[in-house]
């Protein structure tokens, strides 16, 4: 396994665990961008993260931030801070860490699938979409240059069971927010309350170009559901996606607009891919293979 030389991605913060993955005093080995690392839990929210050489010996110590139920680190010098997600600080929120799920594909395909509404009726049938209501209504995409984020706003989709709290179908309003090439989140209106939004994130740990872990922390307005039930709901959704994601070819994401033909419903994907291309990313991208 070789560490990528792509400095663009090396300069991003990426998730590499969640606090309760190991007990205090224990450590585990994992990898980011092809670089083996060791994550040692020193205290409740205190971690020491180290690069490992080929013999498995500890080398350089890496920066750490623990937020949003995830442990983040970086191999480079980030210019982009971790995103601010205010919902995680609201006192009545149910904060759920769903652990991580392994997915064999490019990190960007995981992000792109999260942005996609067109698959709801077919992959998440009777939950996030219904087979007789498949239309993706027109929505807007924006590149917010002040924070360098991609947003998709005014999104709407009919959902038979939008969340564990749902008691009936509803027209759900969504906003999507791509915060880095490896992190994305959505805001969707809470069942029965249009004034508040559930906040659901996906942080991707790219171990190698087509080997990732996905973390799904959530900050929900749902006073009633059991935590186990909230987690079960989210994991059910994600494992429906996972089998689709692992069958997408090529696994690396193509950025040449002629390679995969988008439709209007893919506006967020188009904005995301343009944004990736403008950053001149190499890691996890298909085209460099041909070059």
């Amino acid at each position: 396994m070789a560490r990528t030389r792509d400095t663009v991605v090396l300069n991003e913060w990426v998730a590499c665990g969640w606090p309760d993955k190991v007990a205090v005093g224990e450590s585990y080995r994992t990898a980011i961008f092809g670089q083996d690392i060791e994550v040692a839990r020193l205290g409740k929210d205190a971690f020491g993260i180290f690069e490992l050489d080929e013999a498995g010996r500890r080398g350089r110590q890496l920066p750490v931030q623990v937020r949003y139920c995830c442990v983040f680190t970086t191999l480079g010098e980030p210019t982009r801070p971790l995103p601010e997600i205010a919902e995680f600080d609201e006192p009545d929120r149910r904060i759920a860490s769903c652990g991580s799920v392994g997915v064999h594909t490019s990190p960007y395909r995981i992000i792109e699938n999260f942005l996609d509404m067109a698959h709801f009726s077919f992959v998440h049938t009777d939950i996030l979409g219904a087979e007789d209501r498949t239309e993706v209504l027109a929505y807007k995409t924006e590149h917010r240059r002040d924070v360098d984020e991609i947003w998709a706003i005014d999104c709407q989709f009919f959902q038979p069971a939008a969340s564990r709290a749902s008691k009936d179908g509803q027209m759900t309003t969504y906003a999507y927010r791509v915060m880095s090439p490896f992190s994305v989140m959505l805001y969707k209106n809470v069942f029965g309350d249009d004034t508040r939004n559930d906040a659901i994130c996906v942080f991707v740990q790219p171990m190698q170009e087509t080997e990732c872990l996905a973390y799904m922390p959530m900050a929900l307005v749902d006073p009633d559901s059991a935590m186990a039930s909230i987690i079960d709901f989210q994991q059910t959704i994600f494992l429906q996606d996972r089998v689709i994601l692992e069958n997408q070819r090529p696994a690396l994401l193509p950025l040449d607009p002629g390679r995969e033909v988008p439709t209007r419903a893919d506006a967020s994907s188009i904005a995301f891919r343009r944004w990736l291309k403008a950053q001149n990313l190499q890691f996890g991208i298909y085209e460099k293979q041909a070059a």
Binding site: K21, T125, A228
Partner: protein, 209 residues
Amino acid sequence: MAIKLYDYSLSGSCYKVRLLLDFLELDYEKRQMDFYPGREHRSLEFKQLNPLGQLPVLEDDGVRLRDAQAILCHLANKYDRSGQWLPRDPGSFGSVMMWLMFAGGELMAASAARLHDALGYDLDIEAARRNAHAAFRILDDHLTKREIEGGTWIVGEHPTLADIACFPYTALSSDGGIGREDYPALRNWLRAFHHLPKFKAMSGIAEFA
């Protein structure tokens, strides 16, 4: 409600029980467990229900059972008036039992591979995939023989508990990086299972095949 299932939606073993409960049209209460990442099945409270710390557990009018295969037998024995799912004739009963043991034994290698790939379990993935392929070979050979005899199901003329018990981890194998390209009879059997009345898919398994 009389029947209570300690359940985890992503568990293929719990799915065996949910399939039969649906086939028999039985009402039941679900207690969702935080299997991952919470490891609730290893908690002291749950070990009082099942000292092995494994899902599923079923409670039914004072009877508490662990082990998916045992639970299938209990439900069929108590509720299946047709006798189809657990045939009692001497020509079928032993064979159904044999394939139930296979489902809870050798086939569980495919479950291990899935736990490794999807949920990050630390285990020998190459051994798990190798053992799963060996089990699939045995099941595919058997189903090939059944096809030659004109049969569709693992035992006899109707689907039985043997089919229910063997279905989940076979159908979920690609979640653990185990392809089914080399097992044509097994694929035909999976497809037939999808078409059973009241069949429901789970995450990782297509609704239609």
